[in-house]
């Protein structure tokens, strides 16, 4: 079988990946145990306080994730916060092209840096929602007796709406991950050079083109496959 040289680009360091998956795990436990209180099909989890216990354990992990990030990869945390709140004119151009991006096209967009405008907004909203949901969650957990009816209503409204925001952002996050084959970035840490070129060309150009930032891997050439609705014939790559 013929092989070819494929280049992979380092996108997320180990500390970043650990934090991501820890945060993901905690988030889903929180989401499900939280939904147990507002979605009747899941309310059986709440009886006897099971969901309450799991929610609180996961909440502690969720709350500590940024601190863990700072410890494991401070540069990553710093870049995350800085990039998420720094917007340029290109970002506006990108956002205008968002509908096309949503439906699988990137060629009409201006070249992007490390994170594109959509990711910046996702991160920024997640960070804001993190504070809203943590603050209201801590009030609900520790403020027993001092909230009063108005305080309780305010806390549950903030908590509920930030949950909805984070959950919808997560749906989008998963969607884009699988449309654009971005999962390896968080599992292996590397993305294909093709992905980097299509999605984050400016970033690719700015990093050293040598290990460990860019590595070369021998890959088997895949057989051409029929994709429904595509052109019938293709030239073999190579």
């Amino acid at each position: 079988m013929a092989t070819r040289t494929v280049r992979w680009v380092l996108r997320y360091r180990p500390g970043q990946r650990v934090v991501h998956w820890l945060h993901t795990g905690a988030f889903f436990v929180l989401l499900i145990t939280g939904l147990a209180l507002i979605w009747p099909p899941l309310s059986f989890l709440a009886a006897g306080g099971l969901s309450r216990l799991l929610h609180r354990v996961a909440a502690v992990i969720f709350l500590l994730t940024p601190a863990l990030y700072a410890l494991l990869d401070f540069r990553g945390l710093r870049d995350l916060i800085r990039d998420s709140f720094t917007y340029t004119r290109e970002d506006l151009e990108w956002l205008k092209g968002f509908p096309g991006y949503f439906l699988g096209r990137t060629s009409h967009l201006p070249p992007q840096g490390r994170v594109n405008a959509g990711q910046k907004i996702h991160h920024a909203l997640t960070i804001i929602a993190y504070f809203a949901i943590s603050g209201s969650g801590l009030a609900l957990w520790l403020g027993k007796g001092s909230l009063g009816p108005t305080g309780l209503l305010a806390a549950t409204l903030v908590h509920d709406l930030s949950m909805a925001l984070m959950a919808i952002l997560t749906v989008g996050h998963i969607y884009f991950t699988f449309v654009y084959d971005a999962l390896p970035a968080m599992t292996t840490g590397y993305v294909s050079e093709e992905y980097a070129r299509m999605e984050h060309a400016l970033w690719l150009a700015s990093i050293p083109q040598e290990p460990p930032y860019v590595i070369e891997v021998q890959e088997e050439i895949p057989e051409p496959r029929r994709v429904p609705g595509a052109r019938a014939e293709e030239e073999a790559v190579g």
Partner: protein, 244 residues
């Protein structure tokens, strides 16, 4: 069953606490747990002292805030009383925060409040507190009977207690516990017209909105995925053919 109610006549309560103990024993409450408390309210200066013993217990509001806010439906209304399904309780404590009378407690990780002795009443028996009271201050019956009895007692009290009045006819949509007060509610530590904020904003507003938005996003993404995936792969193929 018809809409039921209880009567508590504060002009007769001795503060003997027999109801507190009968309830604890009859419903087998945990150590330290009580569903009825008796608070002594006194005002004035010796020797002109006035006072009463005021029960602090679930008043079984028709528009109960605790029922509105309970996420699992462990608190619910039946036959005029606010009942508790203790096995469903998640221990979230929202009911504790929201009750305008500050009645519910959390005991052993679950709500603790008078769950009414509806099971006894349905068998033709009286609730534990009612059957125990030595002063005849407690009664249980249909709401019409109780209101009629309360009005009669207030009328009879008027010469000794000119400010005697009924409490519970209108508060919180009507309380399941109708009280005969010798003096106005504020003197006894009872709010004249307790208010709760519009809890429906959460239960009826934010909750369905959040769930609906989430479901919509899942649906939209699910459908869009097939379109987007195909177009992305197409674009990739085109760039492979024209690129490197």
């Amino acid at each position: 069953m018809a809409r039921l109610a209880m009567l508590i006549d504060l002009s007769r309560c001795l503060g003997c606490q027999a109801c507190v103990i009968a309830c604890k024993a009859g419903r087998e409450l945990a150590p330290g747990e009580r569903w009825v408390e008796i608070r002594e309210v006194v005002w004035g200066r010796f020797p002109e002292l006035r006072g009463a013993f005021v029960p602090h217990r679930c008043f079984h509001c028709a528009e109960a805030a605790c029922v509105q806010v309970c996420p699992t439906g462990a608190l619910y209304k039946r036959d005029g009383f606010t009942l508790v399904d203790f096995d469903r309780c998640s221990g979230c404590g929202y009911c504790v925060e929201v009750c305008p009378y500050k009645v519910p407690r959390l005991v052993d990780g679950r709500v603790s409040k008078c769950a009414s002795c509806l099971d006894l009443v349905q068998r033709g028996e009286e609730p534990w507190c009612v059957r125990t009271c030595p002063a005849g201050a407690l009664q249980c019956g249909t709401r019409e009977e109780i209101l009629a009895e309360a009005r009669a007692r207030v009328a009879a009290l008027r010469d000794r207690y000119p400010e005697a009045q009924i409490y519970g006819e209108t508060q919180m949509g009507g309380l399941g516990v109708i009280m005969v007060l010798p003096t106005p509610p504020e003197t006894l530590g009872l709010p004249a017209q307790p208010q709760v904020p519009p809890l429906v904003l959460w239960k009826g507003g934010a909750q369905p909105l959040s769930l609906g938005a989430l479901a919509l996003s899942v649906l939209t993404s699910g459908i869009a995925f097939f379109i987007a995936r195909r177009r992305h792969l197409e674009e990739k193929r085109n760039s492979q053919n024209h690129g490197e």
